[in-house]
């Protein structure tokens, strides 16, 4: 059950808190409730949970506001898809929150479906992020299995240089280059040259 989704709810108003829990219970989503941003920061351990998770936070909170919480998470490089709830007077703040990467903002009062939809999007984003993270880790371990020479050879390969040219540049025999080339394909678990290029490009994409 460790990979079941979890929704973290930061809301100080008890009535609102209990209503949100009721909604999440109705779709059998695991819920953790916090009365303040400080309490959340204190209790939340990033990466402890393997399944998708997201944060639902009110903008107006006692002490640290929802926006400040979002900033703190950004500073600590904690990637947690966030749904921001705001009163209608706080719309400008909510817009700012979205600019800083919040998944969605919902203006109070709202229907349960709207909340569920937003949470769905957030959890999907979380799942996606986790997948990316997993493939990134996989790529890293493959990359780590290459020797320095093999990595040089791979870089020339990606650039589209023929073996003869690579051999000239590195001062190696063509035979040696061919040997390195097949090891690169094997260690990077690429079935074809096209696949290798794709894997490397994806990695570079995710690096930004």
């Amino acid at each position: 059950m460790k990979s079941d989704p979890i929704v973290h709810v930061v809301e100080d108003d008890e009535a609102h808190q209990s209503a949100i829990c009721l909604i999440l219970d109705s779709v059998r989503l695991g819920t953790r409730v916090y009365a303040s941003a400080q309490q959340f920061l204190q209790d939340y351990e990033p990466a402890r949970h393997e399944g998708p998770e997201c944060l639902v936070t009110d903008v107006r909170l006692p002490g640290m506001s929802g926006l400040e919480l979002q900033n703190t998470l950004l500073e600590q490089k904690i990637l947690l898809p966030t749904v921001v709830i705001s009163g209608h007077a706080d719309v400008p703040i909510a817009v700012e929150a979205v600019k800083k990467g919040a998944i969605d903002f919902i203006e109070k009062p709202f229907r349960q479906q709207k909340l569920l939809d937003a949470i769905q999007v957030a959890l999907a984003a979380s799942e996606e992020a986790q997948k990316q993270k997993a493939s990134y880790l996989k790529f890293q371990s493959r990359l780590a299995s290459l020797t320095g020479r093999q990595r040089e050879v791979m870089n020339f390969m990606i650039d589209g240089k023929p073996n003869k040219k690579i051999a000239e540049e590195l001062g190696l025999s063509i035979k040696t280059v061919e040997q390195h080339r097949s090891l690169v394909m094997k260690n990077m678990e690429a079935a074809s040259f096209a696949e290798l290029v794709q894997i490397v490009l994806e990695f570079e994409d995710s690096q930004g």
């Binding site: 108003d13 009535a15 209990s18 209503a19 109705s26 006692p62 109070k108 009062p109 479906q113």
Partner: protein, 478 residues
């Protein structure tokens, strides 16, 4: 309205009664103390007068007796001349008062108006009351030499009128005569009556003048009282309007807070109701969860309605309406209203309502306009919250306490913020001295006016170690 009329009447009598009372005292003093005294003195003066006059007649007798004793006249001649001399003596206002002479038998020797009695034996002569007046005169003279005798006698020369009379008689030893003259009581009475008439006119005049002066004073008094009352009414109206403005301003600054306060219950209502409409189908069984859900919706609707009511009553401009309310309820209502603000600012708020029994605080009944008193509490607490903003968030303490001492209720609001310097403790109550940029600057001066309008006092002080303490009193309504 009735109450106002009674008040006006009461004040009218307060102004009118003293002059009336003074006048009454003046008049009754004159008529019951001074007049009898004057009557007495008139009678005394009259008595003195006739005794003097009788002495004059007596001296005449003595003159003739001397003529006799020196041998210039015979006794008979002397007596004859003396008799005629005294017969002609007259005095009094109409010159009709007279002297008479009788002897000690008694026999009438001379009477100017009753010559018929001359020579007659008077020992059996009595007045209509059966008094032997001449015999009594002889007795008085024999015993004291002279004296007063009262009896009934004819009115001067009119024999048909018999009236009370007081006479002074004096014996003249050499001839065994008694000479007398009298005053009529009616004469005295008439004199007193005429004096009294004069006095009455004088009194009427004086009372009239006092009345005129009094009515002027009363008019002035009523006018100034009315002016004062009008000014007081105007001041009250100003206070009401100003406090209304201040409340509207407060509301304006609290718009976001209020919107948030309303958004909370509305949010939970919509979540819960949309859950019902989105998930339920016709024919679904009614579950306990469903009922609980609906129950919670009702609770939240009531919560919203309370907030809206409070906002409306707080924003309204009304006449001053004093009702008997529990001061503790007013305060906890305000704290409820500010609950979000105190929570947002992480303020540790404590409310200690007066005497507390095991279950609840004992009510402190006060006769006040609850909106105005709410405004005072709101203003002080908001100031405290603002002051606490300058403290680290872990130690922001706000304590509100009520107590009753005798017939006075005391409200104490203490914070541990930066406090107010001693030289500013009074000036914070002056209008337009606000240190805030967004305030109207009339908050505290208005609060003090409101408290004073309710018969209380308001002041500020420094906390025991730090912060400030605002306190106000209100008279307790039993």
């Amino acid at each position: 309205l009735n109450w106002k009329i009674i008040q006006v009447k009461a004040s009218f009598w307060r102004i009118v009664l003293p002059p009336i009372f003074t006048t009454l005292l003046f008049v009754s003093t004159i008529f019951f103390l001074i007049l009898p005294f004057i009557e007495e003195s008139i009678v005394a003066r009259k008595r003195e007068m006739i005794s003097e006059l009788v002495s004059v007649a007596w001296n005449n007798l003595q003159f003739f007796e001397q003529l006799e004793s020196t041998g210039r006249l015979s006794r008979h001649e002397a007596q004859q001349q003396a008799r005629e001399q005294i017969r002609s003596l007259r005095f009094g206002p109409e010159n009709s008062d007279y002297f008479w002479i009788n002897d000690r038998h008694p026999r009438m020797i001379m009477h100017p108006y009753r010559p018929d009695l001359e020579g007659q034996d008077l020992s059996q002569y009595s007045d209509p009351n059966g008094k032997f007046l001449f015999s009594e005169m002889v007795t008085v003279v024999e015993n004291q030499g002279a004296g007063f005798v009262d009896y009934m006698w004819q009115w001067k020369d009119d024999p048909s009128r018999v009236v009370p009379k007081i006479s002074y008689v004096r014996g003249f030893e050499p001839w065994g005569w008694v000479v007398g003259s009298g005053i009529y009581i009616e004469d005295v009475k008439m004199e007193i009556a005429s004096f009294t008439r004069h006095l009455v006119w004088v009194c009427v005049g004086i009372v009239g003048i006092i009345m005129i002066l009094g009515s002027v004073v009363v008019q002035q008094g009523v006018a100034s009282r009315n002016r004062w009352r009008k000014a007081e009414d105007e001041a009250r109206q100003h206070l009401l309007r100003l406090s209304h403005l201040s409340r509207l301003h407060t509301m304006k600054t609290m718009t976001t807070e209020i919107a948030h306060q309303i958004d909370q219950p509305l949010g939970s209502i919509l979540l819960r109701s949309s859950l019902c409409t989105d998930t339920l189908e016709p024919g679904d069984p009614v579950t306990p969860e469903l009922i609980e859900n609906l129950e919670e919706i009702s609770v939240q609707v009531e919560r919203t309605s309370r907030i809206v009511k409070r906002i409306r009553s707080f924003s309204n401009l009304r006449e001053l309406g004093k009702t008997r309310v529990d001061l503790n309820i007013i305060i906890s209502g305000v704290l409820d209203f500010l609950e979000f603000e105190t929570r947002k600012n992480q303020i540790n708020l404590d409310f200690f309502p007066g005497k507390t029994t095991l279950t609840a605080a004992e009510p402190i009944w006060v006769l006040v306009d609850s909106t105005l008193v709410e405004q005072v509490v709101l203003n002080i607490v908001q100031n405290a919250i603002e002051a606490l903003g300058e403290c680290p968030s872990e130690k922001r303490n706000l304590t509100i306490r009520t107590e009753v001492e005798g017939d006075t209720a005391l409200v104490v609001v203490a914070d541990n913020g930066p406090g107010i310097s001693d030289d500013r403790l009074e000036s914070v109550f002056e209008p337009f001295t606000s240190s805030k940029n967004d305030g109207l600057g009339i908050g505290l001066s208005l609060c003090r006016s409101i408290v004073e309008e309710h018969g209380g006092r308001m002041w500020a002080g420094a906390g025991p170690s730090q912060g400030s303490i605002f306190q106000f009193t209100l008279p307790v309504e039993c």
